[in-house]
């Protein structure tokens, strides 16, 4: 497992350095402008990009054949991609955390926004959880088409969900729609909170999602070997 993950990092080493640089710049800018919630979208793009890039290399160099001619369990190949995806998230957040911790001794008020971090982890994990089973079942090319549609979907949902709920809230009489609106609204409120608890909740949900996705991916990879 370790060697497979290390291989993914090594193959993406140039992109990896770029990721750290960009994540650092974004994190710095966010602290400077005191608008940490803006970190979500760029980090999602970077982490998702790194994972899909590693899948691209597997496809371009026919890495799945190279790996499967060796005595490596299919489940190990699948799980290594998930571990790589998780480590990429850690790498993405590393500059943000580092700037925050290093800033404090220097007297800079750089508070970590756990809510924004939790949302980021959740969105990236969600993207990985959906993308990887498609990749393991159909390969990179088909997963890429899916990825494009998925990006558009994510953007639309993330930009409009809250205002959509607000609109529905106003337009539906209380007696008719509250059974649906209230829990949905509460959920959005909960997800919008900026505290350690909500962040932990996001991360837990992310792990559950990734776990289910990994099990599905292993089954797909074992039954439909390309």
């Amino acid at each position: 497992m370790f060697h497979l993950v290390a291989k993914d990092f090594y193959i993406n080493r140039k992109y990896f350095l770029l990721v750290i640089l960009i994540a650092g710049l974004i994190s710095g800018t966010m602290f400077y402008e005191n608008n940490i919630s803006g970190i979500v979208f760029p980090l999602v793009m970077i982490c998702y990009g790194m994972l899909t890039r590693s899948c691209y290399h597997d496809d371009k160099d026919r890495g799945n054949i190279f790996l499967r001619m060796m005595p490596i369990k299919p489940s190990t190949i699948v799980f290594s991609k998930y571990v790589f995806g998780l480590l990429v998230i850690v790498v993405g957040f590393f500059p943000y955390m580092a700037i925050s911790f290093l800033g404090k001794p220097l007297g800079l008020e750089l508070n970590i926004e756990y809510g924004a971090m939790g949302i980021s982890v959740f969105i990236i994990s969600f993207a990985h959880s959906i993308y990887l089973p498609v990749f393991f079942k159909y390969g990179y090319m088909k997963a890429r088409t899916f990825q494009t549609v998925f990006y558009i979907g994510i953007m639309i949902v993330s930009l409009s969900l809250k205002s959509f709920i607000e609109t529905i809230k106003l337009s539906i009489p209380i007696s008719q729609g509250q059974w649906l609106i209230k829990p949905l609204s509460n959920m959005v409120e909960l997800f919008s909170q900026n505290n350690v608890m909500s962040s932990i909740m996001y991360i837990l949900i992310s792990f559950i999602m990734l776990g289910i996705s990994a099990i599905v991916s292993v089954r797909l990879y074992q039954t439909e070997r390309r």
Partner: protein, 287 residues
């Protein structure tokens, strides 16, 4: 130690319109089997099934006497596999690739790998994408041999290589088989390579095994016959892939002894058939 290094029993797999049906192959230890067939005949599919890279619909594959799915990891630890287009991560060096591969094999031997690189004149610091096709194939072979495999599976390894490199590869296969405990399963549509080194030949056509026998038996029994087309009467049912011209005919016969017992061959010309002839006439029969 089991006598057969590879056994394929009634193997079937459907792929859209293509169907690999009832494939039966037995390769004893200590021998090289050539797996011959035209492009698209089912060679790569069979090899992928042996390597458990695709799932079979039915049948059995036993490698070293063990089921290839149930004991996949143990089996792969003792198989050296080279595909038609050697697959590596292009951006990695030869050395890095070997360091990566060695982590997964229990029997990896660095001295074998270094020795083979030296013999092939391959610079291990070069990236894979800087190597020529021949060099990539040699690198793949070096990787496949460095964990001391018992069975070497090669999918069209000589395809697209110049005659010198091809000859070098065949020489290595001959060396590999010398201890008589190992085996080579070697697919190719270049029949001259198979004729040079194989002890057994399996011929596949359109997903079906046409023959799977010792090479010498095949070459002794299968013959080409030529004669005046007026003598065709009575012979036709025993001729395969009949080719007619204005004055003579040419065809393949499966068993010269049986043919001679049945027919008067005194006015016919009986010639040795090589694997190419067999392949061509069988294809003509299909058409």
């Amino acid at each position: 130690m089991e006598d057969n290094i590879l056994e394929i029993i009634n193997l079937s797999r459907s792929y859209g319109k293509f169907k690999l049906s009832d494939v039966n192959i037995v390769l004893p230890r200590g021998y090289i089997m050539g797996f011959v067939g035209a492009n698209g005949a089912g060679k790569t599919t069979t090899i992928k099934l042996i390597m458990n890279m695709i799932r079979r619909d039915s049948g059995e594959i036993n490698v070293f006497g063990k089921d290839n799915i149930k004991y996949e990891m143990q089996i792969k630890d003792k198989i050296g596999y080279v595909s038609e287009q050697p697959v590596f991560y292009d951006d990695l060096t030869v050395d890095w690739t070997a360091h990566f591969a060695k982590k997964f094999y229990s029997n990896w031997d660095d001295t074998i790998f270094t020795g083979l690189l030296k013999r092939f004149n391959i610079d291990k610091t070069k990236k894979i994408n800087q190597l020529s096709k021949g060099m990539k194939m040699k690198t793949a072979l070096a990787l496949a041999l460095s964990h001391r495999p018992e069975l070497l599976i090669l999918d069209e390894p000589t395809s697209g290589l110049d005659p010198i490199v091809r000859d070098e590869l065949l020489e290595i296969l001959m060396e590999f088989i010398q201890d008589e405990k190992r085996g080579v399963f070697f697919s190719s549509h270049i029949t001259s390579d198979i004729e040079k080194i194989a002890d057994y030949v399996t011929l596949i056509d359109n997903g079906e095994i046409v023959l799977s026998e010792e090479k010498e038996d095949i070459l002794n029994r299968w013959k080409l016959v030529r004669g005046d087309h007026r003598e065709l009467k009575g012979l036709k049912e025993d001729l395969i892939g009949l080719r007619l011209s204005k004055t003579y005919f040419e065809a393949l016969i499966k068993d010269i002894d049986a043919f001679e017992k049945k027919h008067d061959t005194s006015s016919l010309v009986v010639d040795t058939a090589n694997l190419d002839d067999i392949l061509l006439h069988l294809a003509r029969r299909e058409n």
